[in-house]
């Protein structure tokens, strides 16, 4: 009796200590960010400067007009620094329960400070940036949700990138031929289901190493799409003009100041994403399917002893995961630019997996993380407009930030990013 008690006690104390060290490392990091705001931004401003952030869309569909946000640059920066410093101090003192969220908030504070500083004595359309954020986050979020779908049931889907690529190409091909983006989207989803099924059969039926199976599908996806693109789509441009889903302003909702134009003046695929996030959230935590999925991803043998068909659940989830990934792929073509280019995904499938981890394998968290990634993307694009005098660093540097955050998260500083226990482990019936 004493044996187990003593040991558990030892283990938990050791674990607590480790956790505590991590918490402290995080607190120090937050304070460094606060100091960076001081040194990099505040020291480079004076009290006369103002930053103007426009909050009204330039499009025709105007909601109720809101005044521009005119901020005294230095004071705003000082406030942002103090908040960041306070979060750091609290983290050092008592520690946040969810350090990943705190990290996300600090990241946003830093970006906000950067934004305010970059627009000193200038104006920038914040609404445009945020609206673009939602768009840029969409493919990443689909990729991340695909990951959640698969990994919650215990199958690692590294093939998201390949599933997206094929989905992107099929979407534009079918849309070009039929003239309907909806047909394009439907065809993309079918291709995703097929590639999902391939992964499922390899991983579940043939117990191929899931990483290797996924990489193989990625290589296949890149190869086949590049081949078709070069061989057929470039000589026949009419095959690569699928058009784009039109923006749909949702009545009423799109009129809400600030929020409306950001979220509710997007195209159909973005709305499908919102729906997917909410439905997955609800299904995962409140339904039989969700409970069984979690069980299969955590302890498949236990599920099996209760009469649950482990294989069936994994097949279903991996196939649906492939479908979700391919919608993200379709967004890249018929959801934004309307044409397919070689390797149009450019690693978004993998960024989606990072968003999934950052979001701790939850649909809402994954979407939140995707928005952060999308935000840096948007910022990078828009800041180029302000010019070199305002931002004396190449805007591409900003693109590094989300990856930096990802590395910090993945390196386990957060400590609480726990994947499903049986993630990546094939289930073998005795």
């Amino acid at each position: 009796m004493t044996a187990t008690t003593v040991n558990t006690h030892t283990d938990s104390t050791a674990a607590l200590k480790k956790e505590r060290r991590r918490a402290i490392a995080f607190g120090v990091f937050f304070l460094i960010v606060a100091a960076a705001i001081l040194v990099l931004f505040i020291f480079n401003t004076d009290s006369q400067m103002v930053s103007t952030l426009k909050l009204n869309p330039t499009t025709r569909n105007k909601p109720i007009h809101v005044p521009d946000l005119v901020l005294p640059t230095q004071l705003t920066l000082i406030v942002l620094m103090i908040i960041t410093g306070a979060i750091g101090a609290y983290q050092l003192g008592r520690g946040f329960k969810n350090a990943a969220t705190a990290l996300g908030v600090v990241f946003l504070l830093f970006i906000a400070a950067f934004l305010v500083w970059a627009t000193r004595n200038k104006a920038i359309n914040l609404l445009g940036i945020l609206s673009f954020t939602v768009a840029a986050a969409t493919p990443i979020a689909f990729a991340g949700l695909s990951g959640v779908m698969c990994e919650r049931s215990g199958v690692i889907n590294i093939a998201i990138e390949g599933q997206m690529l094929v989905g992107a190409m099929i979407a534009v091909l079918v849309a070009s031929v039929t003239g309907s983006q909806w047909f394009g989207l439907g065809a993309a989803i079918i291709s995703g289901a097929v590639l999902g099924a391939v992964l499922a059969v390899l991983a579940i039926r043939f117990i191929v190493d899931q990483i290797i199976a996924g990489v193989a599908i990625n290589i296949f996806g890149l190869g086949i799409t590049s081949f078709i693109s070069q061989r057929y789509m470039q000589p026949n441009p009419e095959l690569n003009t699928g058009g784009v889903f039109p923006r749909i302003a949702i009545p009423f909702l799109s009129k809400i100041p600030v929020i409306g134009p950001i979220f509710f003046n997007q195209n159909a695929i973005v709305y499908i994403l919102f729906l997917t996030v909410l439905v997955m959230h609800f299904m995962l935590w409140y339904t039989q399917w969700g409970l069984r999925t979690q069980a299969v991803g955590e302890h498949p043998r236990a599920a099996d002893t209760l009469g649950i068909n482990v294989f069936r659940i994994r097949y279903i989830n991996v196939i649906i995961g492939g479908m979700i990934a391919s919608i993200g792929g379709a967004y890249l073509t018929i959801g934004s630019v309307g044409r397919f280019d070689e390797n149009i995904t450019a690693g978004k499938g993998f960024i989606g997996l990072a968003a999934m981890i950052f979001g701790q394998w939850t649909p809402l968290g994954t979407y939140g993380a995707s928005l952060i990634f999308g935000f840096s993307d948007a910022l990078q694009a828009k800041l180029q407009i302000l010019g070199k005098v305002q931002v004396p660093i190449p805007s591409e540097w900003l693109l590094i930030l989300p990856y930096l955050i990802t590395i910090i998260v993945l390196a386990g500083v957060v400590g609480r990013t726990v994947p499903p226990a049986a993630d990546g482990q094939p289930y073998i019936k005795e």
């Binding site: 409970l291 302890h299 226990a421």
Partner: protein, 523 residues
């Protein structure tokens, strides 16, 4: 009346082993039937067949006189069979409610939304009815092992099972928790639940069961009412021959000091000084037993002696040669043998074949190495010999050692350590989790080594084991050796008191002195 459950001619062949050989079993309504057998005898296989986890090659299952086909756990559950597995089938991150309802969820249509409240209420009802105190909203990972087992039982009751199978339920429990479990099982029996209880512990079988069925090597070798049975008789049935419940040993022929430890200080992983100034000497030809409740520094002490943990201060020597903080290889070459506490983590490379595990600390020396090459022939030849000499039950020398039963894994370690000349044997919990036959065997091997002039340091939390094997006993408490006594001069109770922190004088005064009757069984 037909029995609740009847198995007829169940046969199951695994590669190399006939796990179940035409087994017949009857379970009457409201009785507790114990399935007794050594590790690997086929008890768990039989129950896994009954629960639909394995498919039998032959045989029929009857429930209340009617033949049924059980092709999976879902069928078994439908027939009212519930099983509590040796390794709990619970999902730590989920709540008790979620674990209980899993697979048999109460839901509302059409998209099957979980009705957690309803299930939680049912769990409260069941806990009340059977005295199983469990909070439905607690996450399983926060529960102790004893409570987790109650959750497993609730899972079974929730499915309205009236045949309950428990596979080695006490293996993971403390004695108090085991007692509570027995009370629960008795109350279930009273309410008409029929129970099959798998065990290899004679004492608890006699205490709990109405009837015992003994299985050996896949066959039923005996059946008896518990009131007509005694430990020696059951042990004999189980092992197939007379078992010495006590170890026969002559007086020690004590020689020169071999291991000398002086003022040893060792820290644990949390940098606490868990070995706090230990000094002791072990002589050739004697067994020194280190008695102590687990967690009093024994683990760190042994790790320091075997080169697995840094010595902070003090001196360790063997035959006068200083080996403080020597590497494990140097210690092996100095003649130290180690039977580690956790055989799977520290004693074996589980995925390696048996033959390779035999040479894991000698592979680099002739005859197992020819220059920089491995001498396969020599390794194979030694494997054949050790498997024969130590009676290791394995299909061949080339199966992964993970395929072997616990007792046979331990034998592999013992065979390896004894296959080279040694001066000192450090055995930490050498019989933990083993069955009677294996325990007897390992004990005899330890005594044989002692009689061959090896110094034996035995660390054990089992008082019976310490009393039965040691020539001298050192009591370890809070990192210190609080007493070293001659094993023939103290009683079990006195050592027990010292393990709990009493001084030697207090213990001698408070507990009854040793009677001359032989020490009670190790079982």
């Amino acid at each position: 009346m037909a029995p609740v459950l009847e198995l007829r001619n169940i046969t199951k062949q695994f590669p190399g082993v006939l796990a179940n050989d035409h087994i017949n079993l009857r379970l009457e309504e409201g009785e507790i039937l114990a399935l007794l057998g050594e590790n690997g005898a086929g008890k768990s296989t039989l129950m896994n067949i009954l629960y639909g986890l394995y498919e039998p090659d032959e045989g029929e299952v009857f429930i209340r006189g009617e033949q049924v086909a059980i092709e999976g756990p879902a069928d078994a559950i439908r027939q009212g069979i519930g099983m509590v597995h040796q390794h709990f089938m619970l999902i730590p991150v989920l709540t008790v409610t979620e674990n209980v309802m899993l697979g048999d969820e109460t839901v509302s249509t059409p998209i099957r939304i979980l009705k957690r409240d309803k299930v939680a209420a049912r769990i409260r009802e069941l806990s009340e009815q059977h005295g199983l105190h469990v909070d439905p909203d607690a996450r399983v990972q926060s529960l102790s092992v004893g409570v987790r087992q109650r959750v497993e039982i609730i899972k079974v009751l929730y499915r309205h099972a009236n045949i309950l199978i428990l596979d080695e339920p006490t293996a993971v429990l403390t004695p108090q928790e085991a007692d509570e479990l027995f009370d629960i099982l008795r109350s279930l029996r009273q309410q008409g639940v029929s129970i099959i209880f798998i065990s290899h512990k004679l004492r608890e079988v006699l205490e709990l069961a109405d009837r015992v069925m003994v299985i050996r090597r896949g066959k039923v070798v005996g059946e008896t009412k518990t009131e007509e049975a005694d430990q020696a008789q059951l042990a004999e049935m189980m092992v197939g021959r007379q078992v010495a419940l006590t170890v026969a040993k002559g007086p020690a022929q004590v020689g020169e000091p071999v291991l000398e430890v002086k003022d040893l200080y060792v820290m644990d992983d949390r940098l606490q000084m868990t070995v706090d100034g230990v000094s002791l000497t072990v002589h050739a030809g004697e067994v020194l037993g280190v008695a102590g409740v687990q967690g009093n520094g024994q683990t760190e002490f042994v790790e320091a002696l075997t080169g697995l943990r840094q010595v902070r201060a003090g001196k360790v020597s063997i035959d006068g040669e200083d080996i403080t903080n020597a590497s494990p290889r140097k210690l092996v070459e100095a003649g130290v043998a180690h039977i580690p506490e956790d055989r799977q983590a520290d004693g074996l490379v589980l995925r390696f074949p048996v033959a390779d595990n035999f040479v894991i600390n000698t592979y680099y020396k002739p005859p197992f190495a020819k220059g920089w090459r491995v001498n396969r022939a020599a390794i194979d030849e030694q494997a054949e010999r050790l498997i024969r000499d130590f009676d290791i039950r394995t299909p061949s020398a080339y199966v992964p050692v993970s395929n072997l039963s616990g007792g046979n894994q331990q034998k592999v370690i013992v065979a390896r350590e004894f296959s080279r000349p040694i001066r000192l044997l450090v055995a930490n919990q050498p019989t933990r989790g083993l069955d009677v036959g294996s325990i007897e065997y390992i004990h005899q091997q330890l005594i044989n080594k002692r009689d061959a002039g090896v110094a034996v340091l035995l660390v054990s939390a089992e008082l019976d084991e310490i009393m039965g094997l040691s020539d001298r006993i050192a009591v370890m408490f809070h990192g210190k050796i609080t007493a070293v006594v001659d094993a023939n001069e103290v009683s079990k109770e006195q050592v027990g008191l010292m393990m709990a922190g009493s001084s030697l004088e207090e213990a001698l005064k408070q507990a009854p002195a040793r009677s001359d009757a032989p020490i009670e069984a190790i079982l």
